[in-house]
Amino acid sequence: MTDIGEAFAAAFSLVYHLDRDLGEIVLLSLQVSVGAVAVASVIGLPLGAAVALFRFPGRGAIVVVLNALMGLPPVVVGLVVYLVLSRAGPLGVLGLLFTPTAMVIAQVFLVTPIIAALARQVIEDMWSEYEEQLRSLGATPRRALGALLWDGRVSLLTAVLAGFGRAIAEVGAVMIVGGNIDHVTRVMTTAIALEVSKGDLALALGLGIVLVALSIAVSAAVALLRGTLAQAQAR
């Protein structure tokens, strides 16, 4: 267990000496994951709400698939995005492979189903209470959707955080499409994986501690936002 002691020492010295490299990696991790979660929320929240609201043939199957896609394996997503963005692939000309943009794209695929599936559940629970009232007031489906997203904002934030958790923690997809290139696409998780493969477990753990601290900071920021949102009454 000396490693764990060493790990904390490593973590503290990493943060204490906060070298530019670490700062760069932390920043890129945040940029990629926050970016991916932002895009995934814009897609996933309305998508989940729509599946919750509308009744159409095959809806049950869509719910099943959405729930299943919460378990989309990062490596597989990474591979598919790689094949699309590769020079040999259909979007190769864009030259996005091994860039942060590619990492965001891959993570969007991972995170969107999580946010959508969890949002569906939240909105469906609310819909059973709201449906008749909103329809009676004359809400179109689009307006009903907006009202539900707003009224469910506090609970939906947890869904978004779950998506962020997946994004910030995952390594498989960003490793493949980012390539873990130093100073270009190296993020916390790929840096950790690198140290593990080098066998420097203490440094890997130290980076891990920094990453968890980062997650806690984000989660605390969201808690503040949650407090504000809970109080926000008017639109």
């Binding site: 209470e129 008749e132 009232q133 329809r135 009676s136 007031l137 004359g138 009454q233 008017a234």
Partner: protein
Amino acid sequence: MTTPSILPLELRAVSFERDRQRLLKSLSVRIAEGPRTIIIGPNGAGKSLLLRLCHGLIAPSEGEVLWHGAQGRDPLRFQAMVMQRPVMLRRSVAANIDFALSLHRIPRPQRRRLIAEALERTGLGAFARVPARVLSFGEQQRLALARTWALRPQVLFLDEPTANLDPAATHVIEDAILAMAREGTKIIMTTHDLGQARRLADEVMFLHRGRLLEHAEAAAFFAGPENELARAFLRGELLWWERRELTPPGTRV
């Protein structure tokens, strides 16, 4: 309202079924423009189901709900309803009304006036910026009324709208309902307060176990209904859907 009315409303052999239970049984009725229609009947008779069905919130399992005056327009847009347990959005009192108005595409400057007016009429002026969900239930019921009135519907469904109101508020709401009816709004309402039913009804529908047993002029109905169960109901002797001899109220303290 100069737009033509969506009325009359006709139910043709309408039934409503859930979990293999017929909750409304082959109702046929024509509800015309003009008279205030009051629906009465014991708990669980199906009054709320009937209102929701007419309002289009639930679909009949059999039969048809027809708005003969709709002429291709969406009838729901000309109706409003105060539910038995109104749902408040997680917003301020004013924002709840604002939301309803915005759904009807009323421009923002106009909305402010309508909101102030509706709050004034229901005595909620002081609560404009309070979260709607912390209101007392009587206040919530008043907010639901305010929210609906602001929409100025052609047809207004009211499901026991004064159940939680204090006597003076009940009085004022009854007055407001009468005023709206005078201005041409069709009132279709349920109540358990027989005094209120007498005060407000032009015509009465008596519902029992999902069946429409009587549909009559108010005066005639309260003078003495044709249906035996309706008579028992008026005398307070229809308990759990069954006729019972009960000690008359007042004799027991």
